[in-house]
């Protein structure tokens, strides 16, 4: 049945459908896991409470209940809102995340879109979400939303730069922009002849990893960088006027992006789908099966840090955030690039 369907459709449509389904799975699954495990449960335990316990065993069906609730809610448009822009904004944010996940490799062949400029593409499309947020902020016709949207734009643009610069160190070391080749470079990489089983880049790019973590925290507008949605100042910033399904899309977008950035972080710094055990063959087909699981584990590790910071820290003020980006993170990232470049030439 499926094979006849595949024959009936030409190759382009099969791959396109495969990419859409795969992309949706790759953003929805991590988003759901992060929300339940970290936002519902870990956050509760850190705050000495239990979190959701009623829906399903140990509250495991809480997500279903929440999604059901949001879908049922009325889709409210503010009276003076720019209706089309207002309706489109959450979709734009989600599309940014969706396109972002396409280039993430989960195995040697398990990648939805194997681009030679993979990481460059990823960083470029991750900025599309800024447009969506600005659209939401402007179209809501609310002062809180406008302030939130402007804050988001300023913040996301400021933190795009350290993000790119932090990644650049890895790219110099791996000598490629293709994300799968970055993983292979880590699998075949040795420090001073020691290695043989492949070391993740975090060992030499630790500074870059720290800058990357801070920058994605800001890109995700998670505390301590959540000024755009600062709920005690701006109610919820650009989300203020949204309700129902559109709010849900924003919500999924936020956590899906957290998952995808964690995927990218694990590819760049933690060795991607590769496990550093001696005697493993890089080009084995088994990696296509084990790879996604390894990636999921590494994604959870990075996400854990993201959510740990989120739960612990109070938020910065807008000017302090800009100062941190321009006066600290960017110089540090630049210095990291220079040192990486010099060492690359020397060794």
């Amino acid at each position: 049945m499926i094979s006849t369907l595949a024959v009936a459709l030409d190759d382009y449509w099969v791959t396109t459908i495969f990419r859409i389904v795969g992309g949706l799975v790759a953003i929805l699954l991590p988003a759901g896991t992060l929300v339940y495990l970290f936002l519902f449960k870990m956050m509760s335990f850190m705050q000495s409470r239990l979190g959701p316990m009623e829906a399903g065993p140990y509250g495991s069906l809480q997500l279903v209940a929440e999604v059901g609730k949001w879908i049922q809610k009325e889709d409210i448009f503010p009276e003076r809102a720019d209706k089309y822009v207002f309706a489109l904004a959450p979709v734009v944010v989600l599309i940014s995340t969706f396109v972002l996940v396409l280039v993430v490799p989960f195995g040697p062949d398990a990648v939805l879109l194997d681009l030679d400029v993979g990481i460059y593409f990823a960083l470029a499309v991750s900025s599309i979400s800024v447009i969506g947020i600005l659209m939401a902020g402007w179209a809501s016709a609310s002062k809180y939303a406008l302030l939130g949207g402007l804050r988001a734009a300023g913040q996301l643009i400021a933190y795009e730069l350290p993000l790119v610069l932090a990644v650049l160190g890895v790219v110099i070391q791996a000598e490629t922009l293709n994300m799968n080749d970055i993983v292979r470079a880590q699998a075949n990489w040795e420090i001073f002849g020691f290695g043989g089983f492949g070391m993740p880049f975090i060992i030499t790019q630790f500074v870059g990893f720290c800058v990357f973590l801070v920058a994605i925290q800001a890109e995700l507008t998670q505390p301590p960088f959540d000024m755009p949605v600062a709920e005690s100042e701006l109610v919820t910033g650009y989300l203020t006027e949204y309700s129902g399904l559109r709010f849900l899309l924003f919500f999924i977008g936020e956590f899906a992006t957290a998952g995808v950035f964690s995927f990218i972080g694990s590819v760049l710094f933690l060795g991607g789908w590769w496990v550093p055990i001696p005697g493993l063959e890089v080009e084995s087909n088994w990696w296509n099966i084990i790879g996604p699981l390894v990636m999921a584990g590494k994604m959870m590790l990075i996400s854990f840090f993201i959510f740990w910071f989120r739960i612990t820290y109070p938020r910065f003020r807008e000017d302090q955030l800009q100062r941190l980006a321009w006066k600290f993170l960017i110089p540090v990232a630049l210095a990291n690039i220079v040192i990486t470049g010099i060492l690359k030439v020397v060794f």
Binding site: R49, P223, P224, S232, I311, R315
Partner: protein, 403 residues
């Protein structure tokens, strides 16, 4: 539909505004106009509240913004006015305590004390020593119940959600102790003219000592988690600085005043029927006067309160808890004003009695009302996020503002 306004007659649509308000409005318009000329932008009026998450209650703050900078801000109070001063005039003296419990709802018992003390002063009765001790202990317990919530809530206002859960967790122990004595978690209604309603339950003293140890741990925890946090310090230090003379001229009281370096505490300075002179304790002041100093002072006060309670628990005398008062309380004619150092600051009741079952007039002086009055002065020129820091650190409770 148009309404015709004849000279000398107000229609419903014309609001009567006072001269001061009019001047402020004109000044605001002028500020907008200046901005428009200089940098070709429009000033924005941001209306925070009455339903805004930061105003935890129904405070309304009208802030004139230039970008994210505040040009002028004005708090508008009265959305929760419940007419308590008038309501007291139709309630007998024992009934009034039920009502005034609801003024500062986080430290309810502390609201009753100054009223009862003023009534006792008029009736010329004094509570027996045991009652005075227990009264002081409950007074300090309600201080902890009140301020510990502030210590966590300040974190929420600045974006850290965790401290408030720790605050709610440990505050619960204090509320349990209050409930064990009074039967009410939130609104004890326990203080009586001439003493207290009941004596302490068995085993209460040991339990309370354990709770005080918990609260000291809580203070240490928050000192580490909130006050030691670099971002918290960056957000609070140097924000909302109140010099001592300004603080005094605006009538600030409580920790807000002590954070400005003014050593003024009614527990020590005002003579009344509480036993603070029997205890070895310290009034904490901070020289800076900024938001951080206000947080610091409150944290130290909470810790000091646990010490006060510990010492009082050790020395409770035995004896009756009620002085001899008539069954039907009629307060002799006269006037009395008693103020005490409540969790939020100085709270006072001015009672005028004409010798009847009900007071003739009661004027309630609450701390938050005066503490809020400084906001127009304080918020000028700060950024939007700092509004929240300053409002949170001034620590008001809406019931205490509006009564």
């Amino acid at each position: 539909m148009t309404t015709e306004i004849r000279p000398g007659e107000f229609s419903a649509e014309v609001t009567n505004i006072s001269d001061a308000e009019q001047m402020r409005y004109i000044a605001g318009q002028a500020a907008d106009a200046r901005l428009n000329v200089e940098i070709e932008t429009e000033g924005m009026t941001l209306n925070m509240g009455p339903q805004h998450p930061a105003t935890h209650g129904t405070l309304r703050l009208v802030a004139k913004l230039d970008g994210e900078q505040v040009i002028g801000a004005e708090p508008i109070m009265g959305y929760m006015h419940r007419g308590y001063e008038k309501l007291t005039e139709v309630r007998t003296y024992p009934q009034v305590t039920t009502l005034i419990n609801r003024i500062d709802w986080l430290g309810s018992f502390a609201n009753e004390v100054p009223f009862i003390l003023a009534a006792e002063q008029l009736m010329e009765v004094e509570a027996p020593p045991r009652a005075q001790y227990i009264r002081t202990i409950l007074f300090e317990l309600s201080r902890i119940a009140n301020i510990s919530l502030f210590l966590g809530d300040m974190g929420v206002q600045l974006g850290a959600v965790t401290p408030v859960f720790l605050a709610f967790r440990d505050r619960e122990f204090v509320l349990n102790q209050i409930e064990a004595v009074t039967g009410g978690r939130f609104h004890p209604n326990f203080d009586r003219i001439g003493g207290l309603k009941d004596d302490l339950p068995a085993g209460w003293i040991e339990d309370t000592k354990a709770v005080m140890a918990t609260m000291r741990t809580f203070c240490d925890e928050l000192e580490d988690l909130v006050m030691g946090n670099e971002i918290f310090q960056a957000r609070c230090r140097g924000i909302g600085v109140i010099p001592p003379d300004v603080a005094l001229s605006y009538g600030l009281s409580g920790a807000n005043l002590r954070a400005s370096g003014v050593d003024w505490d009614l527990r020590r300075d005002a003579p009344n029927s509480m036993v603070y002179d029997q205890v070895d304790w310290k009034v904490w002041t901070h020289p800076d006067g900024d938001s951080f100093a206000r947080y610091w002072c409150r944290l130290q006060e909470t810790r000091e309160a646990t010490n006060i309670i510990d010492q009082l628990l050790d020395n409770i005398p035995s004896g009756p808890i009620m002085a001899k008062v008539p069954r039907i309380i009629k307060v002799p004619p006269g006037e009395a004003y008693v103020a005490t150092e409540n969790p939020l600051g100085a709270m006072g009741y001015y009672i005028v009695s004409q010798g009847e079952l009900v007071p003739f007039r009661v004027k309630i002086r609450t701390a938050s009302f005066s503490n809020m009055s400084i906001t127009p002065w304080l918020l000028e020129g700060v950024f939007v996020p700092d509004i929240i820091t300053i409002l949170a650190s001034l620590y008001f409770i809406l019931g205490d503002i509006d009564r």
